[in-house]
């Protein structure tokens, strides 16, 4: 009999005072994940070379502003980049710390 991997359920114990921050942490973690996936995808498209300079510029500016917005939101809720890290096991650490 081969045991299956352990499942860990993380409980986000919240109370009326911390609920806002706790939910923001969850939301920002997901947004950060999507932001990084978008950036990775954008870099791939740029590398493919089938985007016009205008498109590259628009994409880059938008991503830059997105990163700044994320930074601002994080600061507002006093969350470090590490706080937003999600390890998804077999899906890998899709959210990387900035190199």
């Amino acid at each position: 009999m081969r045991p299956e991997p352990s499942r860990l359920t993380q409980r986000l114990e919240s109370d009326p005072d911390s609920i806002q921050r706790d939910l923001m942490k969850l939301v920002l973690t997901l947004v950060e994940l999507i932001r990084q996936l978008m950036e990775a995808q954008a870099l791939r498209r740029v590398e493919q070379g089938d985007l016009s300079p205008g498109q590259v510029e628009d994409l880059g500016s938008a991503l830059m502003r997105l990163e700044e917005a994320m930074s601002e939101l994080r600061e507002r809720f006093d969350l470090s980049p590490e706080d937003l890290n999600l390890d998804l096991g077999p899906l890998g650490t899709l959210v990387r710390r900035e190199p």
């Binding site: 299956e4 590259v56 994409l59 880059g60 500016s61 991503l63 830059m64 390890d87």
Partner: protein, 273 residues
């Protein structure tokens, strides 16, 4: 829950089972040894304080203890495996029993929750698996397991006061550069660690690369770049450990950690190699 004196007599066990028809119990296999004197295990406890005892067959000794099938039966076990604190408690008990056996005889440790419905089934396994078990015992005799892991040292975060990129294209170029630098670093690290692994393997009887560990279990945030196990003879242990600890001391971007000696869990495989 059962407790009793360590006994190698299966008749005693059968009598005990008749006296306690409920709850159903299984035989939890802790390890297989040879030249093990059962009396050397007096007082050794297995899971939930049940005493370990020995089932002998074909010159091999299976070290078992009783467990409740309410807890270790297929269904309950599946549920219990979802409870990390239960797993931790049982794993530690298992490990303590394995260490106690390993202290007195050459031992092939078992994986978690290897359970048999009767002592006859245990004896049958010893009979059927006698050759691979003997091979495993020969392999681990006089040796112990050592763990060598490597972590990427935490990289300094990109300078916060770096001026904002001037254009969108410049931002993307910066990001691409960062990604490529990371990939280059990872590729260099991989090569260095591959070399280290091969060198350590020459100093061991056997070696295995294991998968990197889940950071939520290890509690370490830095990426794990190597997780390897080595079977090293007792005589070679000190020099192995010294070498592994110092080998990459100059490379500040990698941290090597050496642990051991442990019972040879990673080298107890009964599959033909």
């Amino acid at each position: 829950m059962s407790s009793g004196r360590a006994s190698s007599s299966s008749r005693t066990a059968a009598r005990k089972e008749k006296a306690d028809p409920m709850p159903a119990s299984g035989h939890y296999l802790v390890a297989v040894s040879r030249s093990l004197d059962p009396h050397a295990l007096t007082g050794v406890q297995g899971i939930r304080d049940s005493a370990v005892r020995v089932v002998e067959c074909e010159g091999l000794q299976a070290v078992v203890c009783d467990v409740d099938l309410d807890e270790f039966g297929e269904e309950p076990l599946r549920r219990n495996l979802e409870n990390l604190s239960w797993v931790e408690e049982m794993a530690r008990a298992h490990h303590a029993a394995v260490c106690a056996v390993d202290a007195v005889a050459t031992t092939v440790p078992m994986r978690f929750a290897t359970i048999y419905e009767s002592e006859d089934r245990v004896a049958e396994q010893l009979r059927v698996l006698r050759d691979p078990l003997t091979e495993a015992l020969d392999r681990v005799d006089g040796a112990a397991e050592w763990s060598v892991k490597a972590y990427a040292a935490p990289v300094a975060a990109e300078a916060e006061d770096r001026p904002r990129a001037e254009t969108g294209a410049a931002y993307l170029a910066r990001r691409r550069e960062a990604v490529e630098a990371r990939r280059r670093r990872e590729s260099d690290d991989e090569q260095v660690l591959s070399d280290l692994h091969h060198e350590l393997a020459t100093r061991a009887v056997a070696s295995r690369r294991l998968m990197p560990q889940d950071p939520r279990l290890s509690g370490r945030q830095e990426p794990m770049r190597m997780n390897a196990a080595y079977l090293v003879t007792h005589d070679a242990a000190q020099s192995f450990s010294d070498y592994a600890t110092k080998a990459l001391a100059d490379r500040t971007e990698l941290r090597v950690e050496v642990d051991g000696p442990w019972p040879p869990y990673s080298f107890a495989s009964l599959e033909p190699s």
